[in-house]
């Protein structure tokens, strides 16, 4: 029964992908491509590219892509459900513990020490995207893209100084950058 196979495969992918969306990719390779043969290697490479080019978590993108190709929209829904089910169970359990114990003094201390580390996690993700945006993949300092530098500075200024929503800032800077690249340069 294809639906059961799709669900269990993506349940395992969701369960094993510790550390964010990219952690799902090796599991998709071994379970979906090598074990089940639901995708070819070329399709897997395409999937990686599309998952990066479209919004949304890579795991959900991959689940929808494989599910749709195997069994249409119902397949996409089943794969997505399978992929998010482990998260749902584990995160809800942790959220429950957090709500119950966060006022204990030992927990307060732990959370107090955890917060600056989380700031560092966000900062490190920011640095990665900053580098990718301004210097490209594997680019050195000499490869700086001035259009992206200008867009970054402008977007940051708007975010710091106004209350305009981050989504409007994202869309506005993308539109401006696209116009500059396609019409001016």
């Amino acid at each position: 029964m294809i639906f059961v196979q799709l669900f269990t495969t993506f349940f395992l992918i969701g369960l094993f992908s510790f550390g964010g969306g990219y952690a799902a990719m090796p599991w998709i390779l071994s379970l979906v491509v090598e074990q089940r043969h639901w995708l070819t290697m070329a399709e897997y490479a395409d999937l990686t590219a599309i998952a990066e080019m479209t919004p949304g978590p890579i795991g959900v993108n991959a689940a929808t892509f494989v599910g749709t190709r195997m069994a249409g929209l119902p397949g996409a829904v089943i794969c997505t459900l399978g992929c998010i089910m482990p998260s749902l169970i584990i995160v809800l359990f942790l959220a429950y513990l957090y709500g119950k114990y966060r006022d204990l003094s030992i927990m307060k201390n732990v959370l107090h020490r955890l917060r600056p580390v989380v700031v560092a996690l966000v900062a490190s993700a920011g640095l990665t995207i900053f580098r990718l945006a301004l210097f490209g993949e594997n680019g050195g300092l000499a490869d700086i893209r001035y259009v992206e530098l200008g867009l970054f500075a402008l977007a940051l200024l708007v975010l710091r100084k106004t209350k305009i929503s981050s989504i409007l800032v994202l869309l506005g800077s993308a539109a401006l950058g696209t116009v500059i690249y396609l019409l001016v340069l």
Binding site: G20, V122, F152, L170, S173
Partner: protein, 192 residues
């Protein structure tokens, strides 16, 4: 759930519809991974709407990062839960998976044209500059909170964790575990 969060959320005319639409927009326009989603959620739900505070956002990010699965999905679950309990989880998770579900089920058949389209490629390339700005904006606020708290150990932890992640490529899960252990040590942390 906190009383003040409860009232800030339930005092509006259509709380669940508002949560749904905000999560849907964030998911639909967020390129570049889970931390971008968290940055957007922090700006929307903590800074603007005050449904949560910054400390809770950081705690929930740590929890989302410690569980398996996509960071975006995990944070939608825990943010939904903290804002409005189980109904909040259902609303925010549904809103989060709908955009990728719709986009990818269409693209599953037309993706070749999409990948090779020069306009699509340019949009995706320039979009990263805005994404970087969104994250840097949030980092400025969060890091200055740590600096202002004048807690030396926390400041050292933040800087050390940043170098461990960026220079030494230590995994984020390992860093969280180390911080957990340090938190259990009796180092006289500030009681909030």
């Amino acid at each position: 759930m906190d009383e003040k969060t409860r009232s800030a959320f339930f005092d509006q005319p259509h709380p669940y519809a508002s949560l749904f639409i905000k999560m849907l927009t964030i998911s639909a326009f967020t390129f570049g991974g889970g931390f971008v989603i968290i940055s957007m959620m922090r700006r929307t739900f903590a800074q603007k709407l005050k449904w949560l505070d910054d400390q809770e956002v950081l705690d929930m990010t740590a929890i989302a990062q410690s569980a398996p699965g996509a960071l975006g999905v995990n944070s939608a679950i825990i943010f939904g839960y903290r804002i409005a309990g189980i109904p909040g989880v259902v609303v925010s998770l549904t809103a989060t998976v709908i955009p990728p579900l719709v986009i990818l089920s269409v693209l599953a058949f037309f993706y070749k044209q999409f990948i090779d389209n020069p306009v699509a490629q340019t949009v995706m390339q320039v979009l990263r500059a805005g994404v970087a700005a969104v994250i840097v904006d949030v980092v400025i606020d969060l890091a200055s909170n740590v600096i202002k708290s004048k807690d030396m150990l926390n400041l050292i932890l933040m800087i050390a964790a940043f170098f461990a992640l960026t220079v030494f490529k230590v995994s984020s899960l390992a860093i969280i575990l180390i911080a957990l252990v340090i938190g259990f040590l009796p180092l006289g942390g500030k009681k909030e």
